[in-house]
Amino acid sequence: MEKANVLEMKKIHKAFGGLKALVDVNIELRHGEIIGLVGDNAAGKSTLMKILSGAYHADEGSIFFNGREVAITNPRIAKQMGIEMIYQDLELCPNLDVPANLFLGREVITKPFIRFLKKRIMEDETVSILRKLKIDVKNPGLRIDKLSGGQQQAVAIGRAVSFNPKIVIMDEPTANLAVVEIDKVLDLTLRLKEHGISIIIISHRLDDVFRVSDRIYVLKHGCIAAVKEKAKTNKEEIIKLMFMEAHERQGQRARQ
């Protein structure tokens, strides 16, 4: 019995001037599923996800959320619907501490005239969010840029999760991380899934994709080259799909 789809993107087209970044792309995401989105540089992965998060607009195509067609015209609408994107370049404030970043843009304040920050409440809430997700940040009072890359990534994920999202999009969450930290971030990703969140993860690291995802979409030159159940594929096949042109694959198969 197939689980219902939380998200469907249908026939998405997007061009930047003459450059066709996405051509007729279809994607489905099931409830509580993790899908991996892979492809060579400039394949269109980030562009597709930015359309979903409201940062870009598709030229054509439609998006269905829980079976209903939706118009995601700006990032705020996406957030309201429960779609959180963690951008490739994190988008945290390096000069602020963990609570300040978790609550950025929705600070707890005294009402209504002079808007003093209720720091204590935000700090306590931060501790409980970090604890719930088992995120290991010893001293949340430190500036973000004093934390390790993995901790920063975890804070970004914690921030996204604290909005109670239905869907979390992660763009290259393990790029530039030390090996130990990669493990922690992937564990965290799997924990989100346990909390019932559906996840789309973009990564160049196939090991990571294979570790967490249920299905894998391969994007190539802006088109979906293949969709594979993780259990029914392997890294070699995915790599071929990512980098070889269709006729080359044909030729190979003929030779085998």
Partner: protein, 323 residues
């Protein structure tokens, strides 16, 4: 584990009293001790001289507080010096015709208007703030010279000079009262309020701030207006202290203010907002200046020294953000 609740590690760390910031206090103390020793026979420690240092740094400190906000948001306002002069002149011209209240309003309105225009060029026309405000500096300076034909405008209103930096409230010069008010308000606004948080977020990572729903353009625009108004207050204080307005007021101040803010531990790349540091920075500069005079250095040598101090402070200050 519970370190979030440890008072030493809470949100204050972004704004004020942290280990690294103690360095300035130690530097200030060190300079004070050195001067107190070597200049003991030249009157450095006399009450009159110390009061004089405070008096000379008070107005710089006030503007340094405003400048800290602007720089914290990642922008510059180089027009403040000439705003000081134009506000002083307009205020004094008004004082010759009307009472204190409308004159003060007029002077502050001048600063607010200049700030509004600065904000417009930066936020709407997307000009780099150092360019927009340096152009404004020229325009305002020209205006200030032109409307008064380089003449000083005397101020004979005793109430005005009393309130604006010429009088004493008990033993305390009103000048210090103004400084204290601006400093305390600045510190609270930066550390305790939503506005301060928005300023620091804007200066820390403008994209992140915008994605989080902060109207960073509005934040910057408001800051330019506040900065203009603070420069106007400085103009009124110069006028009250010296019983006249001159187009030269504030002309040399920009350099000192930037130096004070940077020495105080603020990054020129934005994202830091150490108000108390900025005030301490201006005290250090005032003290060094005073000491150099007592040692017998010339004005030119003092200017050179201040330049060197800026270079050292920038070299030691938080580095450029990565990328």
């Amino acid at each position: 584990m519970n370190s979030v609740n440890n008072p030493e590690n809470n949100g204050e760390s972004i704004s004020g009293f942290k280990i690294k910031d103690y360095a300035i206090y130690l530097i200030m103390l060190g300079i004070f001790i050195v001067f107190a020793f070597f200049l003991r026979n030249r009157g450095f420690l006399s009450i009159i001289n110390l009061m004089n240092i405070f008096r000379q740094t008070a107005i710089i400190s006030i503007m340094a507080v405003g400048f800290t906000f602007v720089i914290a948001s990642g922008e510059f306002d180089l027009s403040i010096g000439s705003t000081v002069a134009l506000s002083a002149l307009i205020g004094s011209l008004m004082l010759q015709r009307t009472g204190i209240f409308p004159s003060v309003i007029a002077a502050v309105a001048v600063g607010a208007a200049i700030g509004f225009v600065n904000g417009f060029f930066v936020v709407r026309a997307r000009m780099p703030s150092f360019l927009a405000t340096i152009a404004m500096m020229g325009i305002i300076h020209g205006l200030a010279r032109w409307i008064t034909h380089l003449q000083a405008i005397p101020v004979l209103n005793d109430r005005f000079t009393y309130i604006f930096g010429g009088g004493n409230l008990g033993p305390i010069p009103t000048l210090f009262v103004w400084t204290l008010i601006v400093m305390v308000f600045g510190q609270i606004a930066m550390v305790k309020t939503l506005f301060g948080r928005k300023v620091l977020a804007t200066g820390g990572n403008v994209v992140a701030a915008r994605l989080a729903g902060i109207n960073t353009d509005k934040v910057k625009w408001v800051l330019f207006i506040i900065m203009g108004m603070i420069a106007s207050l400085a103009g009124l204080l110069y006028t009250g202290r010296l019983h006249a307005a001159r187009y030269t007021y504030g002309g040399q101040d920009l350099f000192t203010i930037v130096a004070a803010v940077v020495i105080g531990g603020n990054s020129i790349y934005g994202g830091t907002g150490t108000i108390i540091g900025a005030v301490v920075g201006s005290l250090i500069l005032g003290m060094v200046n005073n000491g150099l005079i007592l040692f017998g250095f010339s004005v030119d040598q003092q200017v050179i020294f201040r330049g060197v101090m800026i270079l050292v402070a920038v070299a030691l200050s938080p580095s450029a953000p990565k990328e």
